[in-house]
């Protein structure tokens, strides 16, 4: 069968539909991995410096019923750290955040193993009380070396957080290099976060 002009014309709809279909397939793939999010809004903080914020208090044994104690942090401590920090903004009242905690705990453990690129996890509890935060952390895992309680949500405003959970990757020197406004998943970690960590170390 030879291809003539007519065949090419009748193939055009198929070609167009295939193009659209491939685009849709890519979008679907992006939706599952979090790379494509039609509801997302651009977060301006990527590739910017960490914004200034007031020091955040952590969990002290006096403020929590079960004596869990995690230090808080300040702008200076965050910017002068000597290894990459994954800052996770979460809340005990946010179901996706709570679901994310076991994975974060696993992640924190993975990066203590020899050979793994250095990474520490810091947390910021958004509009939360120390007692609630402690209860959730004791139940679902405690991945954070530092935990700031942002009880009135003003620090989250400084960071431009639009909804919890959100995570930021901060390199030594206080530069935000990566951000997600969805839950952190293994896939997202492998495809986006890990390459950045390898190139940083």
């Amino acid at each position: 069968m030879t291809l003539n002009r007519r065949h090419l014309l009748t193939l055009l709809p198929l070609i167009g539909a295939t193009g659209l279909g491939l685009g849709f397939a890519r979008m679907l793939q992006g939706l599952t991995t979090g790379r494509f999010d039609p509801h997302a809004i651009n977060n301006p903080l990527t590739h910017y410096a960490v914004p200034h914020f007031a020091p955040l208090s952590g969990l002290t044994s006096s403020s929590t019923p079960q004596d869990l104690s995690i230090p808080g942090f300040s702008y200076e401590e965050l910017t002068t750290a000597n290894q990459p920090i994954l800052l996770n903004i979460w809340a005990s009242w946010c179901l996706p955040c709570v679901e994310e905690l076991p994975f974060l705990t696993n992640l924190a453990h993975r990066h203590t193993l020899p050979g793994a690129p250095p990474l520490t996890l810091w947390g910021m509890a958004y509009k939360d009380t120390p007692a609630n935060a402690e209860r959730i952390l004791q139940r679902y895992g405690q991945p954070f070396q530092r935990l700031g309680i942002d009880d009135d949500g003003t620090t989250a405003i400084e960071w431009g957080v639009t909804g919890v959970p959100e995570s930021f990757l901060i390199l030594p020197g206080g530069r935000i290099v990566w951000h997600t406004s969805s839950s952190l998943t293994e896939d997202l970690y492998q495809t986006e976060l890990l390459p950045l960590l390898h190139s940083a170390s």
Binding site: L28, H39, A40
Partner: protein, 683 residues
Amino acid sequence: MASSTLFFTHLSIFFSPEVGHFALALACALALLQALLPSLGLWLCRTDPAHGPSSQSPLLQFAKPLTYSHALALLLAWSCLITAALGDDFSLRLIAETSATSKPWPYKIAGLWGNHEGSLLLWVTLLSLWSSLLATVPHQSLHRPTNIPARLQTRLIALLGYISAGFLLFCLTTSNPFLRLWPVPLEGMGMNPLLQDPGLALHPPLLYSGYVGFAVPLAFAISALLEGRADALWAHFMRPWVISAWSLLTLGIALGSWWSYAVLGWGGYWFWDPVENAALIPWLTGTALLHSVIVTEKRSTLLLWCILLAIATFSLSLSGTFLVRSGILNSVHAFANDPARGVFILTLLALFTGGSLLLFAARSHKITSPSFGAFHLFSREGTILVNNMLLCTLCAVILTGTMYPPFMQLLFGRTLSVGKPFFDATTIPLALPLLAIIGIGITLPWRYAPPARTWRRLTPALLITLGNAVPAFWLFPSPLAGLSALFALWVITSSVIDLARRLHALPSGLRSYLRLPRSLYAACCAHIGVGITILGICGMATTQERIIEATAGTHISLAGQDWCLDRLTPQHGPNFEAIEARITVRSAPRSANIITILHPQIRIFPAQNQRTLHVAITHRLFGDLYAVLGSVKNDHNQYSAILRLHYNPLASWIWLGGIIMACGGAISLRPRIPFRIRRKQPV
């Protein structure tokens, strides 16, 4: 109420969710058989189609019974679901998510299709009903030589079976409506109060009937490609199916638009939201298909174009469903998004659309239009062709606007949105020539009309339209609205005058008038509907709106009327608490002539912890009075309310026009069989 709930609880011994689940699985198996057995039969006796009924395989006899039993199995599944809904069986996830004991019973049923699983079940059920309807049409026989050939009918049923089977598999694997929930909640979540509205309860069945109805033309198109043969008769058999699907889709869109006007309370009727566009795009290609099928029926041309449009219409309605369900399009009324479902629908879409288009590319050379290009621009088919192009261009423009943001984000990572300004700037310049040509085309005869005669016929309508130019520009403050209104008037007068001319040529009397082909009345009716809708849209473009903070006794002047906030009072509803404002509209302050009293409310539904604004509307022929109570403030026991008041001229004409269009479709459903075709029948 409790006793009836108990009744349905007892009934669920017979119609239990497990029975429903089984019925669904059974329906899937039956649909597969409905697809496979007749296909096999047709393949076995493919050698000499010329012999017709004599070379029949017994497998073909299975097509109709399988179709009916497939539909019955799905109706059984629905009975089980409705029993569970009326019996408040919250162990079913679907019902726990959408129902509550306090919900009125019609909404307990309507709530079933307010979510993904239920609406998909509705989708497949409607498809099975369409196939059954197709199966009930008596096929060609010695007594009925003009009916659809048995072979074609069987092939169509088999093709619809494939589509049904695909969607039933989807239903069973990723969106089973009969999933149980553990632990069993005592009370359901309740439905979003905004959705508890009769308009929205009926909207999905109508819209889906339209969407799904276009599966029948798709089956016609595929069967033509498979047989490598299509002709005027083929178009003749396809036409009623296109028209009925189109009419239902028209009604569905109109109802959806009315809901967003009357319930959403934003003052508009069309927001160019992706979900709305997803319905409008197949409507436009469906309209083009409707007209080109008529051309094919009358003139045996445009065959390939018809086939392509039939494929496009169904594919576009399917992709609309896909885009909304998968969460790719960012819409205000999105379903709970799930990419896993998206993968399944995309696969089905690739199978059906890709398969049909592949078939189109491979087989279309077999179908030849004998007289392509032989028709003149100054003929009915010429104008229909031009309008077809305009409709498709319009469709392409809306498709581009809808798909641009996700593709920009995918390819370049830029977040942007395309809204009303874009669609206004692109659709209006295309819609106006479309209207102009409708008015010309309807008066033209088939084949050819000399321009001089055309001009003579058009003169009265043209004079009336131009005569109304001054009032139109005076009545509509914006020139664009005035111009569009003139074009709408042109369509209406031209349609009416053309029908009057045809009637005038006949001997007077109802009997002879009824002998005129029904399609003429239908076309006139549908085009008048288009004109009325456009007039309504023009009227809404001149809407007057005021947002004001008012205390009791405040007089507000809007659109030459005096709106007075009389008082704010608390109200108790069956499942909500409300604050109600009483607004009296008079023709002048302190005048005794009360035009209407509006009662907008703020409703608080404690079960959902949700607040809704209940709009108060008085529909009047020449303009709706529309009031929204935004919020109520209490400053030192001085209550003040933020009110949004609209005067919407000609608003109800938009939906009235939609209903008239659908009526036009209904009138032409039983067209007179043209003599030429009757003569061609093999006996």
